[in-house]
């Protein structure tokens, strides 16, 4: 039986072989310099992540404060959020570019995720609708903002399904999670980014679906090492909501 050779660890200073420990027994050089340097980067990473969240939050508050929501304002805010996501993501391009690859693409997995996302969205839509109409006696539709425009439906899909799917994933499971992974472990990065994702939507009740949704997307992102499954799930989840609204309106009108 041929014995497997374990890779030899050499001192970063004098190239002496290091069998055990973190210091070279010949020159005394610490061998965890790189790890110590990474620890020095942590505070800076946190500040960058903090600035990013602050900008996103300000944009969300703007959307929340504007009483007379119009298509122009909605799209302007969408573009502002997309621009912020792109700017931060590309600023740390060397760290983040690996997330745009799709290393272990599986069509079966993608279809399964997409089907589950559509079912989850449908279930949630009906529960939310039931609570709104039966318990809160309110009728709420996202389409109200877009219905005045000739291409309202397409704009709604762009604003509610395409933009959030691409840019929220780029922001939260992309840039933010990558920054948090420098500071904390994988699980904590998932929980923090999911919590911030939920908070940024400024809706306490969404705790029951946005937080679990974000945690699932975060786990997929960590496991698959790509944001693309998340983008697909997010897109189908939001698109289903749009399509159900269109269907309800058409059904109601006819």
């Amino acid at each position: 039986m041929e014995q497997e050779e374990t890779p030899r660890k050499l001192c970063s200073n004098c190239q002496n072989e290091i069998a055990e420990g973190n210091f070279c027994s010949k020159c005394g050089q610490a061998q965890n310099d790189l790890e110590v340097q990474i620890y020095s980067k942590k505070w800076l990473s946190l500040l960058q992540a903090g600035l990013f969240i602050l900008i996103q939050l300000v944009l969300c508050i703007c959307a929340f404060l504007i009483q007379e929501t119009s298509i122009t304002i909605t799209l302007a805010l969408d573009f502002a959020m997309a621009g912020t996501a792109m700017a931060f993501f590309t600023y740390n391009w060397s760290e983040n570019k690996q997330l745009l690859r799709w290393p272990n693409f599986s069509l079966k997995k993608l279809l399964a995720f997409v089907a589950l996302a559509a079912m989850a969205s449908l279930t949630l839509h009906f529960i939310a609708n039931y609570i709104n109409t039966r318990l809160l006696h309110e009728k709420f539709t996202y389409f109200d903002v877009y219905k005045s425009h000739e291409y309202g439906r397409y704009i709604m899909i762009l604003s509610m399904a395409i933009f959030p799917a691409v840019f929220e994933e780029l922001s939260f499971r992309g840039y933010l999670m990558q920054k948090l992974l420098i500071v904390v472990g994988e699980k904590e990065a998932i929980y923090i980014s999911s919590f911030l994702f939920f908070i940024i939507h400024l809706n306490v009740l969404s705790f029951f679906w946005l937080l679990p949704f974000a945690i699932i997307l975060g786990r997929i992102r960590i496991k698959e090492k790509t944001i693309w499954y998340g983008v697909a799930i997010h897109f189908i989840f939001n698109l289903t909501t749009c399509l159900v609204e269109f269907f309800s309106i058409d059904h109601f009108l006819s």
Binding site: C24, S25, C27, G28, Y191, L196
Partner: protein, 173 residues
């Protein structure tokens, strides 16, 4: 073969071989001058003292999460009994959510202080910002408490990062 007999490092008490010039675990200079060895030990002692004081800062910051939960509970009771109207229930629900969140983060901070403090600080700052948007004067109310809590959490996060770095430098797990 008495030459290769193991000895204990006078700094970290790890066994070493007689040919070693430095300790593999802590970097202590076995063959250095007495002055070199003293300097090494004093530098290490300083770092260990720093580590202790940083750990105290982390503990204070973790406690501030419980304080935040308590303060939110107190203000929730005051708001609930001093206001009336449609928003009363929604405000109470939001406050209960916040109380439980800070309490949960306080408990989480025992195992994962960095993550708990980052989440706690973000949540607290977001609440202050949202309150200020709805009613700008809220930013002034309880300003000293806000500064103390934010200061404690920021110091706590910095301290916990510094603790990790020092532990790596000192080779402590």
């Amino acid at each position: 073969m008495e030459n290769i007999a193991n000895n204990d490092c006078s700094c970290c008490y790890t066994k070493y071989e007689i040919n070693d010039l430095f300790c593999k675990t802590c970097g202590f200079p076995f063959q250095g001058t007495e002055q070199d060895q003293k300097n090494f030990l004093s530098e290490r002692n300083v770092k260990e003292i720093d580590l202790e004081s940083l750990n105290e800062k982390v503990a204070t910051a973790c406690k501030s999460l419980y304080w935040l939960s308590g303060l939110t509970a107190f203000s929730a009771i005051v708001i609930y009994f001093s206001s009336a109207g449609e928003d009363q229930l929604a405000t109470l629900m939001t406050n209960i959510f916040l109380i439980l969140s800070f309490l949960g983060l306080g408990i989480w901070s025992k195992n994962k202080p960095t993550a708990a403090m980052i989440t706690g600080l973000s949540l607290y700052l977001i609440i202050i910002l949202l309150n200020a948007v709805i009613s700008p004067m809220t930013i002034v109310s309880g300003l000293i408490v806000k500064i103390i809590v934010i200061g404690a959490l920021i110091k706590g996060i910095k301290a916990v990062l510094e603790v990790d770095k020092l532990k790596k430098e000192l080779n402590i797990d």
